[in-house]
């Protein structure tokens, strides 16, 4: 039995494991020539965009390690980052100082929200992803309540530029002129006409080192054990619930820093419809990089962010050149973001089901012999 299925299984397993990146590489290989973009332009754009997004995507790694799946609740961190940015804009602290102040202000908020999120996810074991996603939607309601109704009333905002003309609530789009690109341009570097945001990449590098180091600590080992099997870890003396909460807190705090880095690159704060999309794009990028719900590595993040943004850059132009409707490319990339998440989740769940059947079959075989 096993020999008959062995070879076929190996091939199907290889394809299933790497299906998503393979599909994307093929797609992009066709779309780049059609779009007509030049190589230096694409490289420059990818360097900027990878710097903008990598930190956010890296924040997803720890919960995956702890077996909690993709943390769609990272938007909670993104929201605390945005609230901190609004406060810093109100206080008028410019430049990199403002950014780091925002991070400092946001950290306690992110820790609190991460703890809350962890406690809730502990009550929904086995359905963490859908719960974290709904929690994200729930919290965007709370965020809107705070920013649109409380700020300027309960929370004093004295900078009139930020406040809606009715006297309370924050405007739709805030310009972050004083903080824009302050981290990216902190250490300017140009190689062959392509500028590189050195300081941003240093922060990303630091985070990678941190994640790598964290995996080697006691807590990191515990997290991996919890991700493997909760019952066994509990029996061997690991505090499962506490470990899971810590994973979510770390993820939320990192997502909060990631959002602040993202915003300093973009330069405007979309107050009401930015944060809830963050998780979708970060998750899609990570999955395009070949990660699954149970296994994600640092290389997955970087492969994913490059492929994702190549697709983002190239598809509107390709759509326009092929069919003559620019809007199609816009819809197309939204479709791809959602579609890739559906595809990757379905492939993973299907694989797990198959593996379970395979073990069941092998158990049955042993019984018979």
């Amino acid at each position: 039995m096993t020999r008959k299925y062995g070879f076929k299984d190996a091939i199907s397993r290889l394809f299933v494991n790497n299906a998503v990146p393979i599909i994307f590489i093929v797609f992009i290989a066709f779309a780049i020539p059609i779009s007509g973009f030049s190589a230096p332009y694409l490289i420059q754009e990818i360097i900027i965009r990878a710097g903008r997004d990598s930190f956010l995507i890296l924040s997803l790694l720890l919960p995956i390690m702890a077996g909690m799946g993709l943390n769609f609740g990272m938007v909670l961190g993104a929201m605390s980052g945005q609230i901190a940015i609004i406060l810093v804009l109100n206080w008028g602290v410019p430049g990199v100082g403002g950014l780091f102040l925002a991070m400092a202000v946001a950290t306690p908020m992110a820790i609190l929200l991460g703890w809350l999120s962890g406690v809730i996810l502990n009550k929904a074991k086995g359905r963490e992803m859908v719960t974290s996603m709904m929690l994200g939607y729930f919290m965007s309601g709370v965020y809107e309540l705070i920013v649109l109704y409380f700020m300027g009333r309960l929370i004093p905002i004295h900078n009139p530029v930020l406040v809606l003309s009715r006297g309370y609530g924050i405007r739709n789009a805030l310009s972050m002129l004083t903080m824009r690109l302050s981290l990216d341009n902190l250490i300017p570097l140009k190689i062959a006409g392509i500028s590189i945001p050195v300081a941003t990449y240093m922060m990303i590098g630091l985070l990678c080192v941190f994640i790598w180091w964290f995996g080697k600590t006691k807590l990191g080992h515990d997290m991996r054990a919890v991700g493997q099997h909760m019952g066994v870890s509990e029996d061997s003396g690991i505090k499962v619930e506490r470990t899971r909460i810590l994973a979510i807190i770390l993820s939320t705090v990192l997502a909060c820093y990631g959002q602040i880095i993202y915003l300093q690159n973009i330069g405007t704060l979309n107050t009401y419809n930015g944060a809830d999309q963050t998780a979708v794009f970060a998750v899609a990028a990570l999955l395009i990089g070949g990660a699954s719900v149970v296994k994600a590595t640092i290389p997955n993040v970087f492969i994913g962010v490059v492929l994702f943004h190549l697709m983002f850059l190239v598809s509107p132009m390709a759509g326009k050149n092929l069919l003559g409707i620019a809007m199609l490319g816009e819809y197309f990339r939204v479709f791809v973001s959602y579609g890739v998440i559906a595809l990757a989740l379905a492939l993973y769940a299907w694989k797990r089901l198959k593996e379970r059947e395979r073990t069941r079959r092998s158990l049955r075989g042993e019984e018979e012999s």
Binding site: K125, V130, T131, L135, F138, S140, V142, L345, A349, W350
Partner: protein, 347 residues
């Protein structure tokens, strides 16, 4: 006292709080100048608009596929039915009936594919359903632009290509059910008899189905798949049937919604339409693995009641549009609550 405690345990605090909130809103309404009869009419009309989409949750919950976050797929089938019927230029009862027939056909096909997919991903249905819904809505965003529609009431005037984001059904079958045998009492109070009757019919079909052999088998699959398989029920086939049924109800539900609302919302319109339906059935006392028609009726009345009453009362009291945010928080909070409460089933 003991009985009260038992009732609280059974209903759960969030439901009681929401119920009390609704009662107090109705109590406060007249004193702040909100017309009670208009509010009641609104609640009843909205109940009729949304009821069938909430009913669509029952089959999948009962068959153990969880809450149907992929409802937008059924909604898309309904939208296809509506637009094709308008494209063919049929008006009145014939137009609406044709829309329903076409919608059901599409829903059967979509639901079958969706059901087969969900059979391959047992245990993770809800998450994948959500993203099946999202990706099909965004895929249809492309399709609404490219599909060869020609009716001038539906396509963009200046480019002559692609459907509009909202299409008025006023010349075709606007409020065709709402106005059927409608009962008017006084200037402000109206019961949309036709829509309510249609809901009752759909609920009766659902009730009757769950009392047939197939329906009982479906419930058996949901409560204990191993037992069901042992007694000779094809688990996968029952699950697929439940998904198809749910998708068909979603398709009919959106048509009912549109005829009452008067407009068809395309493109990003269906994106988050699953969430109010999910929230409504949960508020009505359903869980992720058990739901019945009573849950649907109680939940839809409570949820839509809150939806109509909070804006008008809050506006009258503090002159603020904060109610919309409150609605989001209540409905999504309810879903989070239900997900944390649901006991994990044996897989």
């Amino acid at each position: 006292m003991h009985r009260l405690r038992q009732f609280i345990d059974q209903a759960g605090w969030p439901r009681i709080i929401i119920g009390l909130l609704l009662v107090s809103l109705f109590a406060v309404a007249p004193s702040v100048g909100v017309s009670l009869s208009a509010s009641l009419t609104d609640t009843i009309v909205r109940f009729g608009m949304n009821g069938v989409m909430v009913l669509a949750m029952i089959p999948m919950v009962q068959a153990g596929c969880g809450l149907n976050f992929g409802l937008p797929l059924g909604i898309i089938a309904g939208l296809l039915g509506a637009t094709i019927s308008i494209e063919l230029g049929l008006v009145g009862v014939a137009g609406f009936a044709l829309a329903i027939v076409i919608a059901i056909l599409f829903a059967l096909i979509f639901g079958w594919g969706y059901g087969v997919l969900l059979n391959h991903v047992k245990g993770d249905e809800m998450m994948i359903a959500t993203y099946v819904g999202f990706s099909s809505v965004s895929f249809m965003c492309i399709m609404w632009m490219v599909l060869p529609y020609h009716s001038p009431t539906m396509i963009w005037g200046y480019s002559g290509q692609g459907l509009r984001t909202t299409i008025a059904v006023s010349g075709f079958w606007s409020q065709i059910l709402d106005n059927f045998l409608a009962i008017h009492i006084g200037p402000n109070f109206m019961i949309p008899t036709g829509t309510i009757l249609f809901f009752v019919l759909m609920a009766w079909i659902m009730w009757a189905f769950f009392h047939t052999k197939a329906g009982t088998a479906m419930t058996a699959v949901g409560s204990n798949p191993d037992y069901a398989r042992a007694s000779g029920i094809s688990v996968d086939r029952m699950r697929t049937t439940s998904v198809i049924l749910s998708t068909v109800y979603g398709a009919i539900g959106i048509l009912l919604y549109e005829q009452s609302y008067g407009f068809i919302s395309l493109y990003n319109g269906p994106f988050f339409m699953a969430l109010p339906a999910v929230a409504a059935i949960l508020i009505g006392g359903a869980s992720a693995n058990k739901a019945n028609i009573t849950n649907v009726i109680i939940g839809t009345v409570l949820f839509q009641g809150i939806l109509t009453m909070t804006p008008s009362v809050v506006n009258a009291v503090i002159h603020s549009d904060v109610a919309d945010v409150v609605r989001l928080i209540v409905s999504n909070g309810m879903i989070v609550y239900a997900l944390t409460r649901a006991t994990r089933k044996s897989r």
